[in-house]
């Protein structure tokens, strides 16, 4: 029949109310923040996995060392690495590989062939193996005094810190958006109560319990917030999907930055935004109405 869901006691507003616009924008921003934290998590995990199972040893040539002596030190370091438990594979980069690494910075001209380049050994760990890096570094120093072991620990720690920073920033932003959403709904609810004062007084007169009146309002704001937040969240999802498809088509958003594309499974998390927005609206409207009704009940 015409009644529809109980809660339609409040008139349905035509078109988008200002609150809907505010909620849609909030939801869009919240979904962006949530997506950013997901990306940061995934990217950091990827980097961590890529770095934590590798070691690099450099033999840095001091002044006046002969190429032969440098090569001997490098060979010693390589054999020590190969003999270490937990290291699956160790290989010396050839001189041309090393040159290729630095070429982008100093060019491949005559200077490059004259520059005393360090020798680099790239080692891969047995997956899951734990290595005593400090002990290994000491053993290498003893046999090859110019060797330097780099287990990327500092990098990994920094990346983890960066990812944690992004994630926590996202959480703070999400919290602030939730707070702003609740305030906007509380404001709108109070205005709504004022606009429907006569109706509220009538319901009160007819013996409606406060919860009956609160129900009407909370349903109203739950539905309108859900709709607006779905729109905002969907917009953000489209943003991440388009960014993802552009990237997989070879268009890089920004070099050196993590990719912006979210996987489908991650897009699913964005559905949390309208759901939580709806719950915030419902709870806020209910509490606002019950608080206001305390004056007449």
């Amino acid at each position: 029949m015409s009644l529809g869901a109980p809660g339609s006691i409040l008139p349905r507003e035509k078109g988008a109310a200002p609150l809907d616009v505010v909620i849609a924008v909030m939801a869009f921003l919240a979904a962006l923040a949530l997506g950013a934290s997901l990306l940061a998590e995934r990217t950091a995990a990827g980097w961590r996995a890529g770095l934590s199972d590798r070691l690099t040893v450099q033999i840095v040539p001091p002044a006046n060392i002969s190429a032969k002596a440098l090569a001997r030190e490098a060979e010693t370091a390589l054999s020590i690495l190969r003999a270490t438990a937990g290291i699956a594979h160790a290989e010396m980069l050839s001189e041309s590989q090393t040159q290729a690494l630095v070429a982008p910075w100093i060019g491949s001209g005559a200077l490059l062939s004259e520059l005393p380049l360090p020798r680099l050994i790239d080692a891969t760990l047995v997956p899951g193996a734990r290595i005593d890096s400090a002990g290994l570094a000491r053993a290498l120093k003893r046999a090859a005094p110019d060797s330097e072991l780099d287990d990327h620990a500092r990098w990994i720690a920094r990346l983890a810190g960066l990812a944690a920073g992004i994630t926590w920033s996202a959480y703070v932003i999400l919290f602030l958006i939730a707070l702003a959403t609740a305030s906007a709904v509380a404001f709108a609810t109070r205005a709504g109560l004022d606009a429907h004062r006569e109706m509220v007084e009538l319901l009160h007169q007819m013996g409606a319990r406060p919860s009956f009146i609160a129900n009407a309002f909370e349903r109203h704001y739950f539905m309108s917030t859900l709709g607006a937040a779905l729109a905002g969240g969907a917009l953000a999802a489209v943003f991440f999907l388009v960014a993802g498809s552009l990237e997989s088509a070879g268009v890089e958003a920004a070099p050196f930055l993590p990719p912006l594309g979210l996987k489908m499974s991650e897009i699913g998390w964005l559905a949390l935004v309208p759901a939580i927005a709806g719950i915030i609206a419902l709870a806020t409207a209910r509490l606002s109405v019950l608080a206001a009704l305390r004056k007449i009940y």
């Binding site: 029949m1 009644l3 339609s8 006691i9 007819m206 013996g207």
Partner: protein, 239 residues
């Protein structure tokens, strides 16, 4: 001692739907609109409240439906002394009263059907269980064809009939109506009074404020008249 007294008092008021004892009422610091009003509405009674415009009829009804508290005196409703009844118990008491307001107070954004169904929803009834009742009642008051109409598109008389249907739809224990036939022609007026009488036969206590003497003549019910804020008993129950 106190408790026994209270119990005896409660028993004494048990049969009374409404009891006023030396009730006085003034709005703010204004003059007393009602003075020393004392009466009882027995369960199942049918009473007219008459008086000139401004005599205090609406004010008296407001004391009964708990819109206003009396300035002095005792008001009991369904045996509850309202001055000591907990506020949290008021909604349940209010649901036992059907009120036809002088100004109707229909919700403008709801259809005739939804306006009439409102008390049932407030009582927690499910729509499936009351659709038929509401439709029948609307037909009874001559609005079967206008169930989906918004109040603004209806005449004053039609709005009044919706207001009446809304007041009776939940079969209240007590029905109070303020000038319920003020906007309808006499034929419809008679029909509405018959509706009230029918409801009364089913057990509802009825109090109707009106200045329309022709209605009163027909029913030969009890009449209480307000003169200058004082109650004058003109005619007691049916002969």
């Amino acid at each position: 001692m106190q408790a026994r007294l209270a119990r005896r008092k409660r028993r004494r008021y048990g049969a009374a739907m409404v009891r006023f004892e030396n009730v006085g009422m003034r709005y703010g610091a204004g003059p007393e609109v009602l003075r020393d009003v004392t009466f009882v509405l027995e369960a199942g009674s049918f009473t007219f409240l008459t008086g000139l415009s401004g005599a205090g009829k609406t004010t008296l009804l407001k004391l009964i439906d708990m819109t206003e508290p009396p300035s002095r005196g005792l008001v009991t409703l369904f045996g509850n002394d309202l001055s000591v009844t907990k506020r949290s118990a008021f909604p349940a008491l209010r649901r036992r009263i059907g009120v036809v307001f002088q100004d109707f107070r229909l919700l403008p954004h709801l259809s005739a059907f939804d306006n009439v169904a409102l008390p049932l929803r407030i009582a927690g009834k499910r729509e499936n269980d009351y659709v038929q009742d509401v439709e029948e009642l609307l037909s009874w008051v001559g609005l079967g064809e206008r169930m989906q109409a918004k109040p603004a598109t209806l005449s004053g008389g039609e709005q009044q009939r919706i207001a009446i249907a809304r007041a009776v739809v939940a079969r209240p224990d007590l029905l109070i109506a303020d000038e319920p036939t003020g906007n309808v022609d006499s034929e419809i007026g008679q029909r509405l009074i018959r509706l009230f009488a029918e409801l009364n036969r089913l057990g509802t206590t009825v109090l109707i404020a009106t200045h329309d003497r022709s209605l009163i003549e027909d029913l030969r019910a009890r009449e209480m008249r307000l003169v200058d804020g004082r109650l004058v008993e003109l005619r007691s129950a049916r002969p």
